[in-house]
Amino acid sequence: MGVARYWREIPARYNLIGKKCEICGKVYFPPRTICPKCRRKSIGKMQDYKLSGKGTVESYTIIYTPPPEFEGKAPYAIALIKMEEGCYLTGQIVDCELDEIHIGMKVEACFRRIQEDGKRGAIYYGYKFRKAES
């Protein structure tokens, strides 16, 4: 992929910067341009908002048949995570045994290598999740 496509998502993927609707206060991640609750009232009122990185596993799967970019990485865990700000996202769970993962598990974001564009292309980074300290 072109480098710009990766580069423009860096704030969200590196630092979990989402959006907060100034009107209703709801936090969105991945970032959204328009709040689906407030719609036109929210235009121009969506402010950058950094998530705490803390969340809970709502569902998970272990991928055994990976896409080409993740060849050699399987098995790995993908989870649906509810962030403490109320929004949901999809990410990998790392740094634990796969059978430790369960619904309700408390997790926190960490900064990791996600994939690379072939042997000579760019390396893409972003968030993954690990068991929360406390």
């Binding site: 998970y60 991928i63 048949t65 993740f70 060849e71 649906l80 996202l89 999809t90 996600i114 893409y124």
Partner: protein, 388 residues
């Protein structure tokens, strides 16, 4: 709005059809439907063809024009439009055709759907299918398409007690139905053990919980009911045609044990048709994965939320059950050439309502339903058909 009927259907065999190109598949299904309807090229006012990713599967876009050319209808300059909504492309093409006829803009419309998936090699087909999910916020992080349905499966199992065996029973049932369908990709029975012993794709989903990579095409001819009588006595009326959409990404939805777009489309379709879920005699639902059929029968109101696994186990959806589901074998056994699927579902229901489904015929079926889903639920299309 005018009443719309289906006056002809046609489809190719589904499977790994190495000897047949995209063009040949489109031509075969289209010609069968045109002959079935007894119409001439001059009668056709417009064509809509569903295709999910012809650009990546065969490196060919602009397949509306291609479909017109393979049908030999270019001298008539019929408007032919390709329609895309991932795995719901065929269903949305049907909906577009319905709107065109119901509105009075066109009389006779050919709706098609096709996908040639085996001309790419290795993991490429899976990678192309993953583009039905959110590239930036799901696939980028390693989520696969089966992975998203696996998240749904685990969630459903956790909250509703659905079991791995109940998931497997969907595949077993659909393979049984597929064994009775001469056009199905898999015409053999499988057991629960076969499903549970097949390789894991995305836990808890095994290989035999997943629909296959398939080549195939399907078509249907639409006409206003009053004009339809000129061509055929076997008129199948479209009582409802509803499309509903939702977020592209699974994690942004309001529910994780249901596809809200499908619930919405079903509710509106029942209202439009003036029928209840209990009035449906036979249904084709989007079982891209076994969990998807369990969620579908709940979303369609055949059973309460959370009871889909149990209902499957008790045989409610079997061929001889109260509401036979996926008599064709479904996506699981009949095969899933993504762009063709929505139109192939229509083919099966039309055959059932005409009484032409042979060994898998549901006796006395007069009202049938199709449920076609794009991606992990970003698009849902529900059609209700009735023999008149």
């Amino acid at each position: 709005m005018r009443e719309v009927a289906i006056i002809g259907i046609g489809m190719t065999e589904f499977g790994e059809l190495w000897q047949k190109s995209f063009r040949e598949l489109v031509a075969e299904a289209g010609v069968k439907a045109i002959l079935d309807a007894g119409i001439e090229g001059e009668n056709i006012d417009a064509m809509y063809i569903g295709g999910m990713s012809t650009g990546r599967f065969i490196g060919q876009e602009h397949v509306g024009s291609l479909a017109l050319e393979v049908a030999g209808l270019e001298d008539l300059h019929i408007p032919a439009t390709r329609v895309e909504a991932a795995c719901a492309s065929g269903g949305v093409a049907m909906h577009q055709g319905y709107i065109a006829v119901a509105s009075g803009m066109y009389d006779i419309v050919v709706v098609g759907g096709a996908e040639k998936m085996t001309d790419v090699v290795g993991g490429e087909a899976t990678n192309i299918l993953a583009s039905a999910a959110d590239r930036e916020w799901e696939s980028f992080f390693g989520a696969t398409f089966p992975g998203l349905y696996a998240l749904m499966a685990r969630y459903h199992m956790h909250h509703h007690g659905t079991t791995q065996e109940q998931l497997a029973m969907v595949a077993v049932k659909n393979h049984h139905n597929g064994s009775l369908n001469p056009k199905a990709q898999f015409r053999r029975e499988i057991s629960i053990e076969d499903v549970l012993n097949s390789p894991i794709v995305a836990e808890p989903l095994h290989l035999l919980d997943c629909s296959p990579i398939t080549d195939g095409a399907a078509a249907a001819i639409l006409a206003p009911v009053d004009i339809a009588r000129k061509y055929t006595d076997k008129i199948i009326k479209i009582k409802a045609s509803v499309q509903a959409c939702d977020t592209l990404s699974f994690h942004s939805r309001s529910r994780f044990d249901s596809l809200p777009a499908a619930v919405h489309a079903a509710k509106k379709a029942y209202e439009m048709a003036g029928v209840k879920p209990s009035d449906i005699d036979v249904a084709e639902v989007h079982d891209c994965f076994t969990i998807a059929e369990i969620i579908a029968i709940e979303d369609l109101g055949f059973v309460e939320k959370g009871k889909g696994g149990k209902a499957t186990e008790e045989g409610l959806t079997a061929l001889d059950g109260q509401i036979p589901v996926n008599t064709s074998g479904g996506l699981k056994a009949k095969g899933h050439p993504v762009g063709a699927t929505g139109v192939a579902q229509i083919n099966e229901i039309v055959m059932q309502l005409r009484g032409e489904a042979d060994k898998r015929q549901v006796k006395g079926a007069t009202i049938g339903l199709t449920h076609n889903v794009g991606g992990s639920g970003g698009t849902a299309v529900v059609h209700i058909l009735e023999a008149i």
